[in-house]
Amino acid sequence: MSKEHKRILEALLFASPEALKPQELHERMPDGADVGALLKALQADYAGRGVELMNIDGYWAFRTAEDLGEALNLEKNVHKKMSKAALETLAIVAYHQPVTRAEIENIRGVATHRGTLDALIEAGWVKPGRRRETPGRPLTWVTTTDFLDQFSLSSIMDLPGLDDLKASGLLDRRPAIDTLPAANDLFAQVEREEELAEEPDDENIMEG
């Protein structure tokens, strides 16, 4: 078995766009090359390396070692912001779970794009729950453990209740005129009043 033959076989297998049968290799090799023995020898050379000579169903090809599949991938972290629609949908699933898509749309007051739930499923925060035993048996949606991890919640019960939200001002919907501080001198309040009157605009900005 010539060393030169093994080199040629190695180069052939490396450069070939397809896996090759011994017969095809034989045709491409110099006369007198013992393809079978060469393949065995080459396979032994590569055993345990990062690249291995594989025999797949009688076809021969170099392949990167199977156990390295993971190692060959470049892991990249991408930081993304979530859309408002996704956040709202997530919040509804969190607070109302198990909740159907129709119910989500009802609560949000707008039709939910297909991609919105998909994004949440992809993020691993929302998963399908059971089907609701009502006409049409609609699928319900629930939050996942990853969702709890993301927001450092130990359980869904830890989500602040509506009352808590109100108390924290997150549900505030008082007209600005109500929020005027008590003051005896009405005329002295003119300027302050103007400041506060801008509040509704601020809220709009936040919503937008």
Partner: protein, 293 residues
């Protein structure tokens, strides 16, 4: 020696007789046949120089010039169009030839004929070197012909982990937004307890009538003193003030009231202006009727 001799299959080991200019016509025509294959005059000169079959550093520049000039002459006889650079080179070589043939003279700063010949020789050697390099490159093992890349590379994957920049606050805020939007959809205007201008009008006209009078006019009285007593509701108090003042202005417009203020934020004074009891009473009554509607 003639060109025929050079062209023949004369064995190379045979000593060449001393070189004489080759038959100009023949040499020139040979070049002309090939002219499209040349990359310009230097290339032609290089070919001529190679035909001298000596080391390029030993070539006879004079002979080269003669050969080249006969090539140009022949081209012109045949009315062949040659690119400009061929003619430039001919001019330059004609000049060089004359300089080489003339006895040496002191020529100041000008480079000597010998220097010019050396420059040409350098140019020829450099081009020859580059032509050799091109050949050497093409003789190297080439990718896709002699050297091959992996035929079917698996490719390198990229696994993207998405990190969401989302806080609990963002989610709670989103939920708050939904709740508020829900409120908006059946939002009832809050009922405020306010003094309407109609109420203020009837109050003010009534109170003005009760004011003590002096001469034609009632006494100056502060705006505040027309306010209802003991109002707990701040909003009601403020609306009373605003409405009474607005009504006051309306009465001024009707000529039934006078208003004065000594300066900004100073107290506002008002007094009734009773022109004639009958008219005033009538007007006031009409006003009252209208407001009651």
């Amino acid at each position: 020696m003639s060109t025929e001799a050079v062209k023949s299959d004369q064995p190379e080991f045979q000593e060449d007789p001393p070189r004489t200019p080759p038959s100009p016509i023949h040499e020139a025509d040979q070049l002309l046949i090939n002219v499209d294959g040349y990359e310009g005059p230097i290339d032609v000169l290089l070919d001529l120089a190679r035909n001298q079959k000596v080391d390029i550093t030993q070539i006879s520049i004079l002979q080269l010039a003669r050969q080249y000039l006969s090539f140009i002459e022949r081209a012109q006889e045949l009315n062949l169009e040659l690119a400009a650079e061929y003619l430039v080179m001919a001019a330059w070589l004609a000049y060089l030839k004359s300089r080489l043939l003339l006895p040496k003279t002191e020529e100041g700063d000008e480079p000597s004929a010998q220097e010019m010949a050396e420059a040409l020789q350098f140019q020829l050697r450099r081009l020859e070197a580059m032509q050799n390099c091109a050949e050497a490159l093409m003789n190297r093992p080439q990718l896709g012909q002699d050297v091959f890349t992996r035929g079917r590379p698996e490719g390198l994957g990229v696994v993207t982990h998405t990190r969401w920049n989302v806080t609990l606050y963002d989610m709670l805020k989103a939920y708050g937004d939904i709740q508020r939007r829900g409120d908006d959809s059946h939002y009832d205007l809050p009922e405020f307890h306010l003094m309407s201008t109609e109420d203020a009008m009837s109050r003010l006209t009534r109170m003005l009538g009760n004011l003590p009078r002096k001469g034609m006019h009632s006494v100056w009285t502060t705006l505040e003193s027309f306010m209802p007593d003991g109002v707990k509701d701040k909003m009601y108090g403020r609306s009373a003030l605003a409405s009474t003042f607005t009504v006051g202005l309306e009465l001024v417009k009707q000529g039934k009231l006078e208003i004065k203020q000594d300066g900004a934020f100073r107290p506002i004074y008002m007094r009734g202006r009773i022109v004639e009891d009958d008219d005033g009473g009538e007007d006031a009554q009409n006003e009252k009727d209208r407001s009651d509607e």
